[in-house]
């Protein structure tokens, strides 16, 4: 959008004036005289529109992602208020939570699911919003589609009516999960009212041992800092382990920030980030690309930036991690025993008892060897190509244990088609996995993929809440994709390093 004041100027001059205006604003907003800033400081300043009467910041949201579950009511509110979408070109939609992964023909047999996809289609058409619908070949889990399309970019602000929006922070974006009223706010004003979070720097240094993955890193962090330890914080992840991580590994970690209570998690953008983005459909092209990379580089946290808190972990101390309870902080290394309630801090004791009862696990006994009914490989945490590749590499020639239902749900149609062309789907099928269409699937069981009764699921997803996978008594054990594969092959919770001779 053009602001009228500059309309008579040449584009070059306008850009120049704007950059001066932007820097002036930057100075005015400067609090204290820290010369060094975090990425969060910089992105916040660049997107702060004004201070609202209640002291909150009206923050510009550059990119808005929507899906079928949390948007229909927001469009309804918009209609009630007689409002339109302010920047339709900055909102992108996809459908993920309710799509069946085994039938792709419409109408869906579930009337409610069918009504939801139709409502999203209608709302997008009415407001001129790009919709990565099922027939586009670009549909998938919203947090996989955004990066894959190059929509997720460094130095931007992103919001989505979904708490795992923190995933996009892997690119050095500040990304917020929001409720439906805020979806309405962003649709109508491209902004929302927010208070600036504090920043905790989380360093992980060194090399992960073979068979230990990004998933283990984030489960470990949540275990150490607690499920609400991140309250009021944004997590900035860094250190040599993160420097060496691929974009997809960084996404796995940022994805679960919210499980540690931090609404925002991010990694500073670097060459790995730029290389991932280059050539993607929505990434800048040509000269614009070079300018963008220069800008993106400058958004990274400065050396010596101020952090409200800093914690550091050694990668070599992290082992494959699995959850034993009903929140992601109830996690142990694969070779540890299920804790007894009296071993946990008193404030967590009642939850621990509840967890043991729900999970039917014996305290003081190894978690290894616990019988598994279902193995789920997918979700916005671990449903990307590299996850499937890593498992396929090890599963080739192996067989899913009789009696175990094992499904692979690629995170997007893009992931699915590349995986299929690489022959991964065949490898999984031969091993006895069902190869499904893209969506959230058994991560939350809003589609037909649900646990039944008290089935125990080895899952590469992010939440082990009671009832999360579609059965109120269903049991979820979170772990890395390769650990899911090991559970599928043995029919019990296993150490993937032993099963697949990883060393």
């Amino acid at each position: 959008m053009e602001s009228s004041a500059h309309r008579h100027e040449t584009p070059a001059k306008r850009t120049f004036i704007r950059s001066i205006l932007a820097s002036l604003r930057w100075t005015v907003h400067f609090e204290g005289f820290h010369m060094s800033q975090t990425l969060l400081d910089k992105v916040w300043q660049a997107h702060a529109v004004r201070t609202l009467p209640n002291g909150a910041t009206q923050l510009l949201i550059g990119t808005h992602l929507i899906h079928e579950v949390t948007s229909p009511q927001a469009f309804g509110m918009l209609r009630d208020l007689g409002l339109r979408v302010l920047y339709p070109s900055r909102t992108f939609a996809t459908v993920d939570h309710i799509v069946p992964t085994d039938e792709r023909v419409e109408p869906f047999s579930d009337d409610l699911a069918d009504a939801m996809i139709k409502a999203l289609r209608k709302n997008c058409a009415e407001h001129g919003i790009t919709f990565f619908d099922l027939p586009t070949g670009r549909q998938g889990i919203v947090h996989i589609v955004g990066p894959e399309q190059g929509i997720t970019q460094p130095g931007t602000t992103i919001a989505c009516g979904d708490s795992h929006t923190s995933t996009h922070g892997a690119f050095g974006a500040i990304a917020f999960g929001i409720g439906t009223s805020q979806v309405r706010d962003v649709l109508a004003t491209q902004t929302m009212a927010l208070h600036k979070p504090k920043v905790r720097r989380i360093n992980v240094n060194g090399r992960l041992s073979p068979g230990v993955y990004a998933k283990d890193v984030i489960l470990h962090i949540i275990r150490r800092l607690g499920v609400n330890g991140g309250l009021g914080f944004a997590y900035e992840y860094g250190g040599t382990t993160f420097d060496a991580f691929t974009q997809e590994e960084r996404m796995t970690v940022c994805n679960m920030s919210i499980e540690g209570g931090a609404r925002v998690g991010y990694v500073n953008p670097d060459e790995t980030t730029f290389a991932y983005l280059q050539g993607r459909p929505y990434a800048p092209k040509g000269a614009e690309w070079d300018a963008a990379v220069t800008r993106w580089r400058a958004t990274a946290s400065d050396p010596g930036a101020f952090y409200d808190d800093t914690v550091t972990y050694e990668a070599s101390t992290i082992a494959p991690t699995v959850t034993w309870g009903i929140n992601p902080g109830q996690a142990i290394f694969i070779h540890e025993n299920v804790p007894s309630p009296h071993e946990v801090p008193e404030k967590d004791r009642a939850t621990a008892e509840e967890a043991l009862a729900h999970m039917s696990l014996q305290p003081g006994r190894p978690i290894k060897g616990t019988k598994v009914d279902v193995a789920f490989l997918g979700s916005c945490t671990n449903g990307r190509l590299s996850d499937l590749q890593e498992v396929a590499r090890h599963i080739r020639g192996r067989k899913v244990r009789a009696g175990v239902k094992a499904i692979v749900v690629p995170g997007s149609q893009g992931v699915a088609s590349v995986a299929e062309s690489m022959g991964l789907a065949e490898i999984f099928r031969e091993a006895g996995f069902e190869w499904r269409g893209a969506g959230c699937s058994m991560c939350l069981g809003m589609n037909p993929d649900k646990l039944v009764g008290n089935q125990l699921c080895a899952s590469s997803s992010n939440r082990n809440f009671k009832g999360r996978q579609g059965s109120p008594t269903g049991r979820t054990v979170l772990m890395s994709p390769l650990m899911v594969a090991a559970a599928a092959v043995t029919g019990e919770i296993s150490d993937a390093r032993e099963i697949f001779s990883v060393n």
Binding site: T189, G261, M446
Partner: protein
């Protein structure tokens, strides 16, 4: 948009004990297959209520002694998990008008304030003391007094805490930000024009 100034909420209390009561428990995902929030109230804590029934027990939300309660008391990290506004909406539509807990998850907290449903923090000991009072006299009226930052029941006062910005938003009738945000639209356009990725 003129909104009600919320300075206090009075009603009967209901205690749902437990820490980390997550959004999947407040409203299981299968009840989110909807395109309006209407009717969500009956599904609040659906599975926990069904479990209780199956065990021959009564969940507090089904206990006739607490019928019509408007103030919910619970443990720490209440509302953790998903960003689904369906969770506070379900509680609100069930009849809850204020929540008292040891701590709240951030997104749930914000979503609740936007509905005009205060979430206030009280110590675990005081919550348990109040729970006993409610148990012995479910009809006792309780008040979440934002102005006085106290929770009152049966002639007793307990201190409560709420972040200043949320407090201000509620008592000044600015708990839904949309009106303020709309007033800033011109400034929004300017800011957006200065950002290369949005100006393009």
């Amino acid at each position: 948009m003129a909104l009600e100034k919320i300075t206090q909420v009075t009603g009967r209390g209901v205690h749902v004990p437990g820490d980390d009561l997550d959004t999947d428990r407040i409203i299981p995902a299968r009840f989110m297959k909807c395109i309006t929030f209407d009717g969500l109230g009956e599904f609040a804590f659906y599975d926990a209520r069904a479990f209780a029934k199956a065990d021959g027990q009564v969940h507090p939300f089904d206990n006739p002694r607490h019928a019509g309660a408007g103030i919910l008391l619970s443990g720490s990290n209440f509302g953790c998990g998903s960003s689904r506004e369906h969770a506070p909406q379900a509680l609100y539509r069930f009849g809850i008008r204020a929540i008292v807990a040891e701590s709240f998850a951030e997104i749930f907290f914000g979503n609740s304030i936007t509905l005009g449903m205060p979430c206030v923090v009280m110590s675990g000991d005081n919550i348990r003391a109040v729970a006993q009072l409610i148990d012995s006299d479910p009809a006792a009226l309780a008040t979440v007094d934002l102005t006085g930052r106290k929770f009152s029941i049966a002639d007793m006062d307990f201190p409560i805490a709420i972040p200043d910005h949320a407090h201000e938003a509620l008592v000044s009738g600015k708990w839904d930000a949309i009106a303020d945000l709309l007033e800033g639209v011109e400034a929004v356009r300017e800011r957006a024009a200065a950002l290369p990725y949005m100006a393009a």
